[in-house]
Symmetry: none
Subunit: 219 residues, 2 copies
Amino acid sequence: MRLLLVEDDDMIAETVLGAMRRSGYAIDWAEDGRAAELSLGNGVYDLVLLDLGLPKKDGIDVLNAYRKSGGAAPVIILTARDAVDDRIRGLDAGADDYLIKPFDLDELAARVRALLRRRTGQKQPVYAHGELTLDPAAHEVTKGGELLPLVPREFALLQALIEEPTRVFTKPELEEKLYGWGEEVGSNTIEVHVHSLRRKIGAEQVVTVRGVGYRLKRC
Amino acid sequence: MRLLLVEDDDMIAETVLGAMRRSGYAIDWAEDGRAAELSLGNGVYDLVLLDLGLPKKDGIDVLNAYRKSGGAAPVIILTARDAVDDRIRGLDAGADDYLIKPFDLDELAARVRALLRRRTGQKQPVYAHGELTLDPAAHEVTKGGELLPLVPREFALLQALIEEPTRVFTKPELEEKLYGWGEEVGSNTIEVHVHSLRRKIGAEQVVTVRGVGYRLKRC
DNA sequence: GCGGTGCTTAAGGAACGCTTAACGGACATT
DNA sequence: AATGTCCGTTAAGCGTTCCTTAAGCACCGC
């Protein structure tokens, strides 16, 4: 599950990035309107957190252009308390929700969950692969009906794999999915997470393709 | 699925060509802006990898002309890290994504896959030749529906052959495909791999053309 | 039969993945 | 504030797989 934060203030950005990552989302950061449009062009994001009042290009313009180009991901607007006009224009332009600065991180997380759930409720119900099921909105994984307590990284890893269960993912690919391109990890993190994931869902569920990467077992 | 690479640097071009072919795409190479425009005129390409900063004609110009003439294939821009302006101009001119040199080949493959899937909604290629099938994404080979456990080198070798099943590949050619020109191998490695591949897929599948090289059997 | 070419086999060693443990940071609880 | 727990990252050791090398053998064409 990949989010994009569009926010020019470094401090706020860092806080939000940290909170979202701890909730198990991969999140990238665009510092201005231009960068936001570049990133959105990739079409890989599942949700956008958009600060209005950006340098270089107004947030509203970004949103308009995004919707016009067919971008469908939910957008949450972040505004100052007094910018009522912006908020209204934002919702007109196709935003799904808004939060007033300064906002509570738990509330932000709740809104994000809600929007993702709403969207997944319509489109993709729950991933199922063999005995395994994964519910992105509820952050829940079951095996044979039994609820498995996965920690955030394990969950993100399994989610990446289960979205394209036949495909082999290389370790760099998985790193990119688990971590925004913010900071690279310089170690065998993926291997370790695969290991702990296997201990919980069963070692046979994840097959390693030597020299290439990992993928789910056939079923 | 046919790609065009526009790139003036020989080394980079060879590397990219090899990687894309290994991912199962047919890819052609235009060395400068002129050649690119000629090739694009044919209108047969499903995706374009465009290096900016070309001799004879700037990459941006190529892209502008292409879009102006109605070309709709996705375009991925390849730029140097510091050429931020180029990147922005490129996206303004209608590019779909960009990568910063030096880029990871796996990441390139992932972006290509993403764009093609988004555009065409189609599946990734699976090679079939007689009883044999090879799926580059899943890294799987079957014979008569039966899954064959190939090790990496065997897989790469079969993939090279099956991409152009009628052609005869010389041993130096195959070496070049299996090993990035990182380091030459000074031995009969290819023969050994052909041997072990034959043991798994059936000796008759690979015919040797004495004094020339190897190819797949007719079917 | 002879030179060249390809095939087969076995073995050393490198590359890769797995596992474990320790450290440090973040958060919750007191 | 202080303490404890949980989680994520690193790093190092170990085991396995698989790649390369080399050497001998078989085959083909001349």
